[in-house]
């Protein structure tokens, strides 16, 4: 599309969109008001009935768990798509000794020091999803990015050897399957798909909220494996794979 055509299209659409947007937003309750009919109900169900101190987690993994299952499959699907798209093509080959980038000693030290810290933070965020902000998704991403501190420290070869890609693929699939299995268990024991069928415990205890911490754990593993697989697909392309006719500069 030419620049002129784009400007004309924008000039036509922008006024219509702005008028409709303003009209649509006029019906909203004003910002910061205390009228929250859905919020009040969600908070009551989460804290009084299901003993889940973090209401957001209760909505994500209990009251609207089916939505989260859908999101989990979006991530699963995009990881499969990325891994398929970025697979080595016939004219690419692995280079025997990937270049070790020059890493400052301080960067290396920071990587080694922060690796255990971020793994601990990741596990903490996953385990406390029902109590404090965070949960499986956030914790899983922290775990996966923390794991890549090894790459920042210049040890990509070690990172690659430690957990092979096939193992990650199996872990990822099992974790997603566990989420679905919890849903089916809810259908059998609680009378609905992903129904909260476990005892809820007392508000604020580490094991509270019924199925919320269990689903959080499954999602934490699934997301961590998914992000590592995703970044591995990109890292392999950048660091390991070269075209067969490629000559390394002398």
């Amino acid at each position: 599309m030419s620049r002129r055509a784009r400007v004309v299209l924008f000039a036509l659409v922008a006024p219509v969109f702005s008028v409709l947007f303003v009209l649509a937003a006029r019906g909203l309750p004003s910002f910061g008001s205390d009228f929250h009919p859905y919020g009040d109900r969600a908070v009551t169900v989460a804290t009084v009935q299901r003993a889940s101190a973090n209401v957001v987690s209760s909505v994500n993994f209990d009251q609207r768990a089916v939505d989260t299952l859908g999101e989990e499959f979006i991530l699963f699907g995009s990881v499969i798509g990325t891994v398929v798209l970025l697979r080595p093509s016939p004219e690419e080959r692995e280079i025997g000794h990937p270049e070790e980038g020059r890493v400052l000693p301080t960067t290396r030290l920071a990587g080694y020091l922060l690796l255990p810290v971020s793994v601990l933070v990741g596990c903490y965020v996953i385990a406390h999803g029902q109590l404090s902000p965070g949960g499986g998704f956030q914790g899983g991403v922290v775990l996966a990015t923390g794991w890549h501190l090894l790459y920042v420290a210049g040890r990509y070869a070690a990172l690659r050897r430690a957990v092979p890609q096939t193992v990650l693929e199996v872990i990822e699939s099992l974790a997603v399957a566990a989420f679905v299995a919890l849903g089916v268990a809810g259908l059998g024991l609680g009378g609905g798909f992903l129904a909260n069928m476990l005892p809820t415990g007392s508000l604020g205890a580490l094991l509270s909220g019924g199925t919320v911490p269990v689903i959080n754990a499954a999602i934490g593993v699934a997301v961590a494996a998914a992000v590592v697989l995703l970044l591995a697909a990109f890292l392999e392309q950048t660091i390991i794979l070269r075209r067969a006719d490629h000559q390394d500069p002398p």
Binding site: G32, N54, V56, S57, V125, P133, G134, G135, F137, Q138, V141, V142, A144, T145, H148, V227, L230, L231, F234, L235, Q237, T238, R243
Partner: protein, 78 residues
């Protein structure tokens, strides 16, 4: 509190414009990361810490890294 929210929103608008006006993709990855950080601050000020955590992990770390790696791979073929 309202002032803090307006400030955070202004910061998001400012860094968002900087991302759009950055022409070089490699530099854009860095400005995108800063934009992600300002969005995180905005989410914290409107009391959405769960979303802020997701934004911090995905928007300031994973996405810029993926862009950098892609640029390096594609740039090497030119």
């Amino acid at each position: 509190m309202m002032l803090v929210i307006v400030l955070a929103l202004g910061l998001v608008a400012l860094t968002g414009a900087v991302v759009v006006l950055t022409r070089d993709p490699a530099q854009q990855a860095v400005t995108l990361s800063v934009f992600g950080l300002t969005l995180t601050i905005l989410f914290v000020t409107v009391q959405a810490p769960d979303v802020a955590l997701s934004q911090l992990a995905i928007g300031t770390a994973v996405v810029p890294l993926m862009i950098m790696l892609t640029i390096r791979k594609v740039g090497g073929r030119r």
